[in-house]
């Protein structure tokens, strides 16, 4: 490939993909991408035919999140390209490295409103890290190489490469080694890194009530080991963002669980009482902070972040550390003082105990099936290294609360964009990253139906997934908001679904309905005996709410707590300190 033999632009596409180590491409053919598809027949890279291009982008994303490598999606021009948009935006908000390759009408037709022409580079400017329109065969190789580099470097993200049909058909030579990544020496006006590090260490040493926040940056930079060591050396407990779950083992004594809107009560309470936050690889999303004016006002803040544009965006910080999360964690670890913070840990432990009567896990099922119980049981019954891919809504939050993730990349979920329909295709992507591991899809009855067409893809590819549909007959999270903030006016939230068991069977997949808690282990045994994908229709309690809940924009301390039974009400109450 490094050399003389002229190849068509379409062949060069596959040459680059193969040499980049791409194992699988998720795509859908069409007029403007046909030369690339034709050349695919002589490539070793596997192709997965999706049922809708949104699925292709989510699969590439799911592959990327499960593997840490760049995921690739392929689509034609016009509607093929625009169908990718939701998936690209999802990858953008969650910093997931994917490369989307789209066919474009031939260059003489550009701008003429030709059949299936869309200005997809124009459309995707705000939702890609970068994008390219390529109209010469000789540019395809270097551009694709740069696209992979842009997608995975720094803060990762999606890149789109739009290639005109004539460029795919024309011939060119391509020298792999001639391309060199560009290095820009980007200055920042932030605090000098050495000074920042020294200050951060002094602040950590001095803090009496510190918290470490683990964001997705911990996962991206493989900082888990260093983070465990740092937490243990300093005795500082670790709270996680949604995308940070798994970055710090849930069973570790210093693991607190998730923060934010549906975070644990003791975590949010601790944040409001903390005197120092050490935020690592996270971006202080509004779902994490609630009202910014009252957020962690007693705490100094250290922000470890690779993207300078995130510093002081939402929360003003005292010390910015513009670094890779693992590098920063390692450097802090080396110089920080070993100490204990038992009174602080005890007070958090106290809050945990006070919160426990409200825990839905302690409430009797009374013959009903509660989604939160399903999560807990599935977590207990599944493989330790299982990958869980969740959709968006109540089930996603219950999963985050009750599925204990012990290692990075065991939870794949759409956080920033909150894309319903993400789970099923993303799990298909994850399957190609990990052919052997147990993979669970957790989706609501609403979100599942958004991309349910990908069941056909599963059947065609012959892959095995466990698909748990948490079926409550409502768009549950919106219904919860209606219950709490719109006086139970259930506008457009009741949803009727097909018979999911029959739907599975229509795809030659196994379907199992579960309506009681006792039925869960039996269903799982049955599923394990089944060679292919199994769809579980969990018929859960219709009107259940996720607690605690910090209403959007409210103070973190103003959590709505799960109501307790009359008997529990008699017992002394825990009042949250400010």
């Amino acid at each position: 490939m490094s050399g003389d033999g002229a190849r068509t632009g379409a062949q060069i596409v596959w040459d680059v993909l193969a040499r980049e180590g791409v194992e699988v491409v998720f795509g859908y053919p069409g007029g403007a991408i046909m030369p690339v598809y034709d050349a695919m027949l002589s490539s070793t890279v596997r192709h997965v035919l999706v049922r809708h291009e949104q699925g292709a982008a989510h699969m590439a994303d799911g592959y990327a999140r499960a593997s840490g490598k760049v995921g690739v999606a392929l689509a034609t021009s016009g509607p093929g390209a625009t169908n990718l948009v939701t998936g690209i935006a999802t990858a953008m908000l969650d910093s997931s490295p994917i490369v989307c390759i789209t066919g474009q009408v031939s260059s003489p037709l550009l701008g003429s409103d030709a059949f299936q022409e869309t200005d997809i580079t124009g459309v995707t400017i705000p939702i890609t890290k970068h994008n390219y329109l390529v109209s010469r065969a000789s540019d395809i190789g270097p551009t694709l190489r740069e696209a992979f580099e842009v997608a995975r470097s720094g803060r990762p993200g999606p890149v789109l490469v739009d290639i005109t049909k004539d460029a795919q058909q024309a011939s060119a030579s391509f020298d792999w080694d001639a391309w060199k990544p560009r290095i820009r020496n980007v200055p920042t006006r932030l605090m000098d890194p050495d000074e920042a590090l020294a200050r951060a260490i002094a602040m950590i040493d001095a803090a009496e009530r510190p918290l470490i926040f683990a964001g997705q940056g911990v996962v991206h930079s493989k900082a888990t080991e260093a983070l465990i060591a740092l937490a243990e050396k300093t005795g500082i407990p670790v709270a996680s963002t949604l995308l940070g779950l798994g970055g710090f083992p849930a069973s570790h004594p210093l693991a607190l669980g998730m923060m934010g809107m549906h975070g644990e009560a003791w975590v949010n309470a601790a944040i409001q009482r903390a005197d120092l936050l050490v935020a690592i690889g996270m971006r202080f999303d509004d779902r994490v902070t609630g009202n910014l004016r009252t957020y962690a006002v007693h705490a100094k803040k250290i922000h470890v972040e690779i993207d300078p544009a995130e510093i002081n965006k939402n929360v003003k910080v005292d010390v910015p550390l513009l670094m890779d999360a693992r590098e920063a964690t390692t450097q802090i670890l080396a110089r920080v003082t070993r100490r204990h913070r038992q009174p602080w840990l005890d007070s958090i432990e106290h809050a945990k105990h006070e919160a426990s009567p409200r825990d839905i896990q302690r409430q009797p099922a009374d013959g009903r099936l509660l989604a939160a119980h399903v999560m807990k049981d599935l977590c207990a019954l599944s493989a330790q290294d299982a990958i869980v891919v969740t959709d968006v809504g109540q089930h996603q939050m219950w999963e985050a609360q009750y599925w204990k993730h012990e290692s990075p990349r065991t939870l794949v979920t759409s956080g920033g964009l909150g894309t319903m329909g993400f789970a099923l295709p993303a799990a298909i992507g994850a399957r190609f990253a990990h052919p052997e591991r147990e993979i669970w899809v957790i989706a609501g009855d609403g979100g599942f139906q958004m991309t349910a067409c990908e069941l056909s893809t599963i059947a065609q590819e012959g892959i095995k997934l466990y698909i748990a549909i948490i079926n409550n007959g409502y768009l549950g999270m919106v219904r919860q908001w209606q219950e709490l903030f719109y006086e139970r006016r259930y506008a457009a939230t009741p949803i009727r679904s097909p018979d999911f068991v029959k739907l599975a069977e229509a795809h030659d997949l196994r379907g199992i309905r579960v309506s009681t808690r006792e039925g869960i282990p039996r269903a799982l045994e049955e599923a394990r005996r089944s060679p292919g994908t199994v769809v579980f229709d969990f018929r859960v309690e219709a009107e259940e709410c996720v607690y605690p809940m910090v209403p959007a924009g409210a103070d973190l301390k103003d959590m709505i707590r799960r109501p307790m039974s009359e008997q529990q009400e008699q017992e002394p109450q825990f009042e949250m300190e400010e």
Binding site: T121, G122, I125, P126, K129, H130, N131, Y132, L133, V134, S135, R136, S138, D139, P142, T143, R145, E146, A147, V150, D162, W179, K180, P181, R182, I183, R184, N185, V186, T188, R189, L190, D307, P308, A309, I311, N312, K313, K316
Partner: protein, 180 residues
């Protein structure tokens, strides 16, 4: 926190189609308020240069710069707000100037070192180049006579001293030849 002031940035960009679109898209999406934006060629055929004037406090300015750096086609960003720099703008002003007041208008032009570039029976067209506040000053005076039409180019700026683009941009741009 500092208060918002007018700030001037120079951005060196790869000269490729769509680059201006990326920059304006960034400003729109992040709600930065552009006072003026000009873009043009430089002495290097593959590099174009943008002068951006925005109103921002210290932190917003820093984040704006960080966002500009995130654009792959941006080669260099330089804030010259507080640096020794030549800052210029050009304006064309058509002002009502019948017989009786024409001499007074022309005298004003002389004071501001503006040039009369077109004359018609009732109007003069004036070209002025200078720092934006000088242009403001002339416009303020001309308003009395009646401004018929006016256009300003927006600010361009250059650091004083001997450094040039080559000195600022150390590496060759354009690893991938075509970027939309």
């Amino acid at each position: 926190m500092s208060t918002a002031t007018v700030r001037t940035f120079l951005a060196y960009l790869e000269d490729k189609p769509g680059v201006l679109n990326r920059v304006t898209s960034l400003f729109r999406r992040r709600s930065f308020n552009i006072e003026s934006l000009t873009v043009g060629r430089t002495e290097r055929p593959d590099v174009s240069r943008m002068t951006l004037v925005v109103r921002a406090d210290d932190d917003a300015a820093r984040r704006l710069e960080a966002h500009l750096w995130k654009l792959v086609n941006v080669l260099q960003v330089d804030e010259v707000s507080n640096a020794p720099a030549i800052v210029r703008e050009l304006a064309l002003v058509k002002v009502r100037a019948p017989e009786g007041v024409r001499a007074a208008v022309m005298q004003l032009c002389e004071v501001f070192r503006a040039r009369v570039v077109d004359v018609s029976p009732d109007a003069l067209s004036i070209e002025i180049t200078g720092a934006p506040d000088k242009v403001d000053g002339l416009l303020e005076m001309l308003r009395v006579y009646g401004v018929v039409e006016m256009v300003r180019t927006g600010t361009v700026a250059m650091r004083r001293g001997q450094g040039g683009v080559e000195g600022v941009i150390s590496e060759r741009p354009g690893a991938a030849p075509v970027a939309a």
